[in-house]
């Protein structure tokens, strides 16, 4: 199986005034294509930072990161934006839908960057909404949908450009247990039936159970499950 994500000695640090704050150090990681990985760890352990680096939202301070066969380290902001639009779908804790657009148009957003015709964009958005079970809510704005429905729209938006990788930052963090399970089952379907590689940051061990495997982080490093418990 080919690696969807490879991190070699990955590091990230921030500068606050004169102080250098290391957030990630020496991350070595390989995620296979078609994997469903849960990243767990306490707040401030660096999970979201790692996810941001894998998703091309941030650039590393050191090391190498290769995603979908592309090395991200040398890309400028414009190239990274294009790369993200083609390879990564993002799902956030708070859905991050545009309130002025209805579900159909929110899902259509990533396709505005493609050369698809208007008709084709609409058709693709409709298909994505159908996959997440919200075809009948296409004309509703986010404010008219429940939290679970909004997250489904966000998943449809992440799917619509057919990316290789789905990165999910606490996708069930704002949902009740029952709805959270529905969303996690949907991610499982996307992983198993549509072949998407899924990387999910979560605090919730029950959510992590839906993944194929779980990695733990603490203080900017990957640690074993035993170390994490300790």
């Amino acid at each position: 199986m080919t690696a969807a994500v490879v991190c070699k000695d990955l590091a990230k640090q921030y500068t606050k005034g004169r102080e250098v704050v290391p957030v990630l150090t020496g991350i070595n990681l390989s995620i296979d294509t078609g994997d469903f990985l849960a990243l767990m760890g306490p707040s401030g352990s660096g999970k979201t930072t790692l996810l941001n680096l894998i998703g091309g939202l941030d650039v590393p301070s050191g090391g190498e990161i290769i995603v979908a066969g592309d090395s991200l380290a040398g890309m400028n902001s414009s190239a990274l934006a294009k790369w993200r639009s083609e390879h990564v779908g993002f799902i956030f804790q708070f859905y991050n839908l545009l309130p002025v657009l209805n579900a159909q148009r929110n899902v259509e957003l990533p396709l505005l960057l493609t050369k698809l015709s208007r008709k084709q964009r609409q058709a693709n958005a409709a298909t994505a909404l159908e996959i997440v079970g919200l075809a009948d809510r296409a004309k509703h704005k986010p404010g008219e949908l429940s939290g679970g429905q909004q997250q489904r729209v966000a998943i449809a938006r992440a799917l619509v450009a057919d990316p290789d990788l789905l990165v999910c930052d606490e996708p069930t963090g704002d949902l009740d247990r029952e709805t959270a399970d529905e969303i996690l089952e949907l991610l499982q379907v996307l992983n198993r039936e549509h072949g998407k590689t899924v990387i999910m940051v979560t605090h919730d061990p029950r959510a992590a159970e839906f993944a194929r495997r779980t990695l733990h982080m603490d203080k900017g490093k990957l640690v074993s499950a035993q170390e994490a418990v300790a």
Partner: protein, 385 residues
């Protein structure tokens, strides 16, 4: 949906705020187009004057009169072919709002010099010359007030009363005139000078200014100097200029309209830039996480910049188009209302198009800082907000 659809949806995300902003921009550009028409109207009168005529007025002020005795001396200047005169009468017809210029003139010499005026009916000039209480008026004035030949028109004197103190002047309409077949941009009410001069209580044997026709327009400057030299050391020195220049001086006495309108508009646009700029900045602050999402989805920094800049430009241009369109709609109505105060008041396509262009420019000024801020947003930081 396309990027324009996204821009439009974002522009109207807060309908009340956007509509109020649109309203303020629209009012600013309504003012802009109308004031531009006013400024053009003030200058417009200057352009229609012929170069073969000179106007001799008081050196000190356009409201100073000149003695009638100057007539023969001016006529004696080489190159002066004909002379006539006019004076400012003032006075109101029914209501001070019914403003139009009223001049006592010498009928025959006046229409000899102003040959572009065609009188109707055919015997109008003859009757005007013979009947001392007769008046002839611009056809536009007659239409405006529904006057017909034979009507008696009462004017209340505001400057001049009759020798017995009576301020009521009554005139009989004997003819109308048009300027080369068209109503004049500065419609006149012309009364008989002799009747005026004999009736007034003060200021007899004076005229407001002289108009002379010269034989050679090329010698206009030289002839003007000769006329002024005649009266240089008299009690009534003159200043002679082309009609064109005289009209400009008249407009300048009211004020430099170009400067005044520019100052008003500068103040209005400065306020609009501050208000709309503040609104745009506020709108941007509210949307920082959304802009971060757009970038996350793959929108380039430059695309986000264009979206924000485009929103500001579209907002201002829409407001500008509404304001300019309103001005074009109400302009003709206003032209009727202000007729007679100054030259032809007309909202032109050039005014409308320049307003829309200027609104786009203001949109760029307003949008550039928020757009640059949006372009520079770091996704990771912005998503946390």
């Amino acid at each position: 949906m396309n990027l324009l659809g996204l821009l439009w949806a974002n522009m109207f995300r807060k309908r009340v705020r956007t509509n109020l902003t649109l309203l303020s921009v629209a009012v600013a550009f309504l003012l802009f187009v109308l004031l531009q028409a006013v400024a053009t109207a003030f200058e417009g009168g200057a352009d229609v004057a012929g170069a073969d005529r000179l106007v001799v007025g008081s050196k000190y002020s356009q409201i100073e009169n000149l003695p009638y005795s100057q007539r023969q001396q001016i006529l004696g200047v080489e190159g002066v072919e004909a002379i006539t005169h006019s004076s400012w009468f003032g006075g109101n017809y029914q209501d001070p709002k019914n403003f139009f210029a009223k001049f006592p003139v010498e009928p025959l010499s006046y229409f000899d010099i102003y040959r572009e005026f065609q009188l109707q009916p055919a015997d109008a000039l003859e009757r005007f010359a013979q009947q001392r209480t007769a008046v002839v008026v611009d056809v536009a004035l007659a239409q405006r007030f529904g006057w017909e030949i034979g009507d008696v028109i009462p004017i209340i004197g505001t400057i001049y009363s009759k020798a017995d103190g009576d301020r009521l002047w009554e005139f009989e309409l004997v003819g109308t005139f048009s300027e080369n077949g068209e109503a004049s941009s500065f419609p006149l009410f012309l009364m008989h000078y002799e009747y005026f001069n004999e009736s007034i209580a003060f200021g007899k044997d004076q005229v407001g200014n002289w108009t002379v026709r010269i034989s050679d327009p090329e010698r206009a400057g030289e002839i003007a100097q000769q006329i002024d030299a005649l009266f240089e050391n008299s009690a009534d020195p003159t200043r002679t200029a082309t009609e064109d220049e005289n009209n400009r001086q008249f407009a300048r006495q009211l004020g430099d309209m170009g400067f005044i309108t520019s100052m008003i508009m500068a103040a209005v646009f400065f306020t609009i830039i501050l208000l709309t700029g503040n609104t745009m900045s506020q709108a941007l602050r509210e949307r920082i996480p959304e802009l971060a999402v757009l970038k996350t989805l793959g929108f380039k920094d430059s695309t986000v910049l264009c979206l924000i800049l485009g929103e500001a430009v579209a907002l201002c241009m829409l407001g500008g188009a509404i304001g300019a369109g309103l001005a074009a709609l109400i302009g003709p109505g206003l032209a009727g209302a202000v007729e007679g105060f100054f030259g032809r008041f007309e909202v032109t396509w050039v005014g409308v198009v320049s307003a829309i262009g200027l609104s786009g420019l203001i949109g760029l000024v307003i949008g550039i800082i928020p757009a640059l801020s949006a372009q520079r947003l770091a996704i990771v930081d912005a998503l946390r907000k």
